[in-house]
């Protein structure tokens, strides 16, 4: 169940990566910036067709090997479900929820059907072609069900929306808390999708993010509070960790966490900092989630509204400054939050002797990012064609990846037990000293924790389950 949800979280990354470009085009095209109407129209197009983009992206993300035919199937399934259910109830508007359901169903059915080995279907791309056809037909039948059921679903979500709106600042705070607590599992994208794309409506547009960019003055309350956290809070935490590191490690830690802090400030990508301490100091992470919740609550209560198309960094802050309500308040609030984070982190680390990066016992490594990135960005994946054309030891297909991991872990004879735990490999080995940290890092691992002589944990991200499945046959 958790593993499935994590895959959905990861599948949402591809469509989410499209948003900033839409936001840039929309903002730069508008009269108060470059005033190029056709650019704004193109940016608007992306927003208008986001549901279909979600359907394609989720289907692809869930499909085995991320095959493109799953994208085609997801697109067709979403169109059929939309038109079909509207033919039954003209009020039905599948929008994002329908797109997500279409994407999930497609991904699942695609994997189910494409396993079928039907003789003589090679002219149709094998089982995958068959899968697309079966998904098309299934979605025709499902649209009948959707047509009848959807009004109730819409009512339920409207009720949820009204309830959330009635809770005001408290609701925003709860959302902030939950959003950060779900980060380790990658599940924050699941609730974000509801809040940003479904919650509330304004001139036919739904979701806090969409409504904000459509000019709804009440929207942005669930995004504004992230600016102080991401631009100032987490960089403050990073500074605390750098100063708390042992003097001889401080420079190395400053290199990793300094660039992570800059990344958070500029773009609002915070996982590199968060992953640096969430496994090493879970209590500190809970504290971070509480502070995020409180900040969102206070910012909401003060009536500050601001939004982003990607995340709450400087870039989005500058682009959207004219859309924001009392947006400049976020800077002084952010400075206070930054100091607060620094003090809380620095003294917690010192007083409770938390093993943040640079404070580990000899031989243990530092944790970095990697978890949220595409496999090609971190070099943890290469396509089969690349594999065939390369002689480098770092060229890895998924089969080779497992073999490389086994070697980096000291060989099959060193590994006594291996199991996956959400984003980590838990290992029982003969000798932890035989584990090659540098090699593991090059393979895409973001953290290596040697707990004692026989136990170690390797943070590899959501591929953990898959990787263990691949490694086990090699032992």
């Amino acid at each position: 169940m958790l593993g499935q949800l994590q895959r959905i979280g990861k599948a949402l990354m591809l469509p989410i990566a499209v948003l900033p470009v839409a936001g840039l085009l929309l903002r730069l095209g508008q009269p108060d910036t470059l005033n190029i109407p056709f650019m704004a129209a193109a940016g608007n197009a992306v927003f208008n067709f986001l549901p279909a983009i979600f359907a394609i992206g989720i289907a692809v993300g869930l499909a085995k090997d991320n095959h493109g035919l799953a994208g085609l199937a997801g697109f067709v399934a979403f169109q059929v479900l939309s038109y079909g259910s509207q033919a039954i109830h003209s009020d039905n508007n599948l929008s994002y929820l329908g797109a997500i359901v279409a994407g999930l169903l497609t991904g699942w059915l695609f994997n189910l059907f494409s396993r079928a080995r039907v003789r003589g279907l090679d002219f149709l791309a094998g089982g995958r072609g068959l899968a697309v056809i079966l998904i098309t037909l299934t979605s025709v039948m499902l649209s009948l069900v959707f047509g009848v059921v959807w009004p109730f679903v819409q009512d339920a979500f409207n009720t949820l929306g009204h309830w959330l709106a009635a809770t005001g600042a408290v609701g925003a705070g709860l959302y902030g808390l939950l959003n950060r607590l779900l980060i380790p599992f990658g599940l924050h994208h699941v609730i974000n999708t509801y809040i940003w794309f479904v919650y509330g409506s304004y001139h036919g547009v739904s979701g806090d993010l969409n409504r904000f960019f459509a000019g709804d003055p009440t929207a942005g309350g669930y995004m504004a509070g992230f600016f102080p956290i991401m631009m100032f809070g987490l960089p403050g935490a990073a500074l605390a960790m750098i100063l708390a590191a042992r003097p001889e490690r401080r420079q190395a830690v400053a290199g990793v966490l300094g660039s992570a802090a800059f990344t958070a400030f500029l773009t609002g990508v915070t996982e590199p900092i968060e992953f640096a301490f969430m496994f090493l100091a879970p209590l500190l992470f809970v504290l971070h989630a509480v502070l995020t919740g409180l900040t969102l609550m206070v910012v909401y209560a003060l009536g500050i509204r601001d939004g982003f198309t990607f995340s709450a960094g400087l870039i989005d802050y500058i682009l959207n400054r004219n859309h924001a309500t009392h947006g400049w308040w976020l800077i002084p609030i952010g400075l206070v939050v930054g100091v607060l984070y620094f003090v809380v982190f620095y003294f917690s680390i010192r007083i409770f002797d938390i093993k943040t990066p640079g404070r580990e016992l000899e031989g243990a490594g530092t944790a970095g990012g990697g978890f949220i990135l595409d496999e090609y960005q971190v070099g943890a994946a290469t396509s089969r064609e690349d594999e065939e054309n390369t002689t480098s030891i770092f060229g890895r297909s998924s089969e080779h990846r497992a073999l490389e991991y086994v070697r980096a872990l000291g060989g099959a004879e060193n590994i006594l037990e291996i199991e996956a735990c959400t984003t980590r490999l838990r290992l029982n080995v003969k000798d932890v000293e035989k584990i090659d940290e540098l090699w593991l890092k090059q393979l895409g691992a973001s953290g290596v924790m040697k707990l004692n002589r026989h136990n170690a944990q390797i943070v590899v991200g959501t591929i953990a389950d898959l990787l263990v499945d691949e490694i086990k046959p090699l032992l």
């Binding site: 469509p15 990566a17 991320n66 038109y83 990135l373």
Partner: protein, 157 residues
């Protein structure tokens, strides 16, 4: 592996079969045949999106290992071309029977396929890392499509 067997044409054939299914459903629902408006609607859902489906099919067919990021990029490029160009010139027809959407679909499909094969391994600096790898493909395709929209918007008659 099947990656060796399946190349460009089987993918396009799948698109053709799906569009065929749409056509059959549409025809079955017509008043002169079974007279089921629901079937007309679902058939129309597929048929009216034929150019987008074609764009996706071409891109997936061209992309290395038929990766899905190319599918998403193709659809994105398709919409950017149509919306961008029609904002430049009000005389461009964008209904589902116009030749313009076919041109947009073909262009976006090829563009996304080329862009995938060129950029899927892009390594960005750490602070932009989230957009690296295959996620970079929809972004560059959207930007390239913007130029196509600019050209078509000024030249389409």
């Amino acid at each position: 592996m099947s990656a060796k067997v399946s190349t460009f044409s089987p993918i396009l054939l799948v698109v053709a079969v799906v569009l065929g299914i749409g056509a059959i459903l549409y025809w079955l629902g017509l008043p002169t045949v079974l007279h089921v408006p629901f079937l007309v609607s679902v058939g129309y859902a597929i048929l009216s999106n034929y150019a987008a489906a074609l764009a996706i099919g071409i891109a997936v067919g061209m992309a290395k290992e038929h990766q899905g990021a190319a599918a998403l990029a193709a659809f994105l490029g398709y919409e950017v071309i149509i919306q961008g160009a029609s904002a430049l010139s009000k005389s461009i027809p964008t209904d589902d029977k116009s030749a313009f959407i076919l041109v947009a679909g073909l262009t976006a499909g090829v563009l996304a396929g080329v862009m995938y094969n060129r950029f899927y391994r892009t390594k960005l600096p750490a602070w932009l890392g989230f957009f690296g790898g295959r996620r970079f493909v929809p972004l560059v395709t959207a930007l390239a499509s913007l130029f196509v929209a600019l050209i078509l918007g000024h030249t389409w008659r």
